[in-house]
């Protein structure tokens, strides 16, 4: 094994030393995500499929770039994720790591990526710290972050008349951050927050909290939670006639896979923000159609779409620079505008934040839906500059 490492490093050194050989760049991309737990449906194997599609669509082989995609399960455990990441970088010759949902694992992988000077394009995690106080020059945060979700859902709801809010907040740092960002947006847009309740995490029964929310007479109930907490709360809100009673539910972190799990009967009327929806235009529809064929009929989530789009942009930068040196490629990625059928035109900020529009959606009534996966109707578009945190406020050390 030692010998192999030496060989690999020698090979790598030769490669770098001889630009003439750069025609045969070979890239190893690792998709590291949850394949067995809570986030397996929104990332999981689907993200691997998306990565392979990016390689295919880029026609890498024709351009003299050999791309190999590997994958592993981090089981949502930071220590498992960081061991795999280290091993991938140190031993297996992986050049970039994609996806990585679960903020704790993402922050760890981002840190290791910086240490080993590789590239990490995150799609699955929400923490805005990745491009904020924990930012580094090797990490790009692609699809969404909690700040943008709060901006989208909070701001747009107030403009649509939902000016008084009550929060159900999962009682841990992530929930608190969602609530904090959303409250700030609500207040900034002229709304008010009439109350909030901290719910134990993870929770099963939210009826008691929903009752408190109902009694508050707030127009909007903001769900500052994620995963099964959110689906449980939405299911029970339906049961207690909350939406029927005129209050709106706003999900601060809901994926299409969650809506699929709830069914329209339970989820109807829910308002949420996403950066990608398969049925947005011809481009997204065509791609999603192909994706669904490979993924057992399941349409892509924004996280999976982000893996595709991120890898595609990376490969373009490799092609343009004829190099896989991390600094060179990342610099090129930030310099080149991004453009693909899924997220449209965009850019990457110096702090690693990928910029694109966010969309506010409302979940359709069962009667409005034409069939499986026809779930959203678009309420409004939030331009990238408004959606993401102003660069100066991020606290990222790369921004001077």
């Amino acid at each position: 094994m030692k010998l192999k490492t030496i060989l690999a490093t020698t090979a790598l050194a030769t490669l770098m030393a001889a630009p003439a050989l750069a025609q045969q760049i070979s890239i190893k991309a690792g998709v590291l995500n949850d394949r067995s737990g809570l986030y397996a449906d929104l990332a999981g194997e689907g993200s691997v499929i998306a990565a392979r599609m990016a390689v295919e669509d880029f026609k890498a082989a024709d351009k003299g770039i050999k791309v190999e995609v590997v994958s592993a399960d981090h089981q949502n455990k930071p220590d498992v994720g960081s061991t795999i990441a280290r091993q991938w970088y140190d031993q297996d010759g992986v050049d970039l790591i994609l996806d990585v949902p679960t903020s704790s694992v993402a922050l760890a992988v981002s840190q290791i990526t910086k240490e080993k000077n590789k590239v990490h394009i995150n799609s699955g995690a929400g923490s805005s710290d990745l491009t904020g106080k924990a930012c580094n020059a090797n990490t790009i945060h692609w699809t969404y972050d909690t700040y943008a979700l709060a901006q989208g859902t909070g701001g747009a709801m107030v403009k649509a008349g939902g000016d008084s809010w009550f929060f159900l907040t999962a009682d841990y740092a992530f929930g608190h951050a969602l609530e904090r960002d959303a409250s700030a947006t609500v207040i900034k847009n002229g709304g008010k927050v009439v109350g909030a309740v901290r719910t134990p995490f993870p929770g099963t029964d939210f009826s008691s909290f929903l009752l408190q929310a109902q009694a508050s007479k707030a127009k909007v109930i903001g769900l500052a939670n994620a995963g099964s907490d959110t689906t449980n709360a939405i299911k029970q809100a339906g049961e207690f006639g909350i939406v029927a009673g005129g209050q709106k539910l706003a999900g601060l972190l809901v994926f299409i896979s969650d809506v699929h799990a709830l069914g329209l009967q339970a989820a109807q009327g829910l308002v949420l923000t996403e950066s990608f929806y398969w049925d947005r235009d011809d481009g997204t529809r065509a791609w999603s159609e192909r994706f669904a064929k490979l993924n057992g009929g399941k349409k892509p989530t924004m996280v999976q779409a982000g893996v595709y789009s991120g890898l595609l942009h990376y490969l373009k930068a490799v092609e343009a620079t004829k190099s896989k040196d991390s600094a060179t490629v990342v610099a090129k990625m930030k310099e080149m505008p991004t453009d693909d059928p899924l997220f449209g035109k965009g850019s990457i900020r110096p702090n690693g934040r990928k910029m694109h529009d966010m969309y506010l959606y409302e979940v359709k009534k069962p009667s409005e839906s034409k069939g499986p996966w026809d779930y959203y109707k678009q309420i409004s578009v939030l331009p990238a500059e408004q959606a993401f945190q102003p660069l100066a406020e991020t606290g990222c050390s790369l921004v001077k």
Binding site: D73, P78, T83, L107, H176, P200
Partner: protein
């Protein structure tokens, strides 16, 4: 009374340490030391360090179950809390790694003393349940104090620092020697404890508590003592792990971590000195190399659990010990 280890484990009472057994054990220690020296050049050092941390954790757990006869289902509490404290002090107070580890270990010990004092008053299933409940409280505490634990993000980017303020541990190899030394120290300590008069009394209590009491031993004192020792060593493992991975997170205090350490001990061989090391190696290797299997990992883990309970209650090392008719 729990007679888990006495009836099921190695099958040979360790107290009858005759000369040939002592020689065998000495040779084994030398072999382990040799493997430790060669390991980082053959295998990936970070992986070996992970195995060592978990092996120490399993050894600590086995001390309590195999020699104290007490099944704790909440050992994640000491492991995880020590890991938080070590990460926190290294990162926020700027302590050198050895001090951070010591600090974490000390907290593990204190926690062990408090929880142990509560738990040893009950036996068997009740004991297991109390330890589980107490560990759950530690989990909720960790979840609720993001200022200290970083909430669900955990404490990230913990500096490995300089050993004694002099030798940088940023290089995996350099850190490896420290971890190997800690592991070896822990293993020798446990071996000493088991074979000391104190260890003999613990086994006597495990096998027949009323008799030990009638002989004049204060059973609860011994139980508390072995509990605290176990928690301390679990803390040492957790504190070291925080420095190795440069992070401490909720995973370390969650109840599944308590389950994992039971699995490691069971696979390796309950109540054997060396079993938990083998068990930890098997389970950690599985988690690492089966990572591509996705959801099947839990199925495989569960399957091993079931098979172990049904067919290999002695565990891998236990089976070997039986075959060579010597306690290991």
């Amino acid at each position: 009374m729990t007679d888990l280890a006495s009836t099921e484990a190695a099958g040979v009472a360790l107290s009858e340490t005759d000369d040939s057994t002592a020689r065998l054990h000495r040779n084994l220690f030398i072999a382990i030391a040799a493997v430790l020296v060669v390991a980082p050049f053959v295998a990936y050092p970070v992986f070996v360090m992970k195995v060592l941390c978990f092996a120490l954790f399993a050894l600590a757990f086995n001390l309590l179950l195999g020699y104290g006869g007490l099944l704790s289902f909440g050992h994640a509490a000491y492991f995880g809390m020590a890991s938080y404290v070590s990460a926190y002090t290294a990162k926020n107070w700027g302590l050198t790694p050895e001090l951070a580890i010591l600090f974490g270990t000390a907290v593990g010990a204190v926690l062990g003393l408090v929880f142990g004092a509560l738990a040893i008053r009950r036996q068997g299933i009740y004991f297991a349940m109390i330890t589980l409940a107490l560990a759950q409280m530690v989990f909720f505490f960790s979840l609720q104090t993001p200022r200290f634990t970083g909430g669900e993000d955990g404490i990230q980017a913990v500096p490995r620092g300089k050993f004694l303020g002099l030798i940088s541990l940023a290089d995996d190899r350099a850190l490896y020697w420290l971890v190997a030394a800690i592991f070896m120290g822990g293993l020798l300590a446990i071996y000493r404890i088991i074979h000391s008069p104190f260890g003999q009394v613990c086994k006597a209590i495990r096998d027949n508590e009323p008799r030990a009491i009638s002989l004049g031993y204060r059973a609860n004192r011994y139980k508390l003592m072995v509990f605290v020792l176990s928690a301390t060593l679990a803390g040492l493992a957790g504190a070291t792990k925080a420095i190795v991975f440069q992070l401490a997170s909720l995973t370390d205090v969650y109840w599944t971590m308590s389950g994992e350490v039971v699995l490691m001990t069971l696979v390796g061989g309950l109540g054997t000195v060396f079993g938990p090391i083998v068990g930890a190696l098997v389970i950690v290797a599985m988690q690492n190399y089966l990572a591509t299997l996705g959801a099947w990992v839990t199925v495989v883990q569960g399957g091993i659990f079931v098979l172990c309970v049904l067919l290999f209650r002695e565990g891998i090392v236990g089976v070997i010990a039986k075959a060579i008719k010597k306690p290991l």
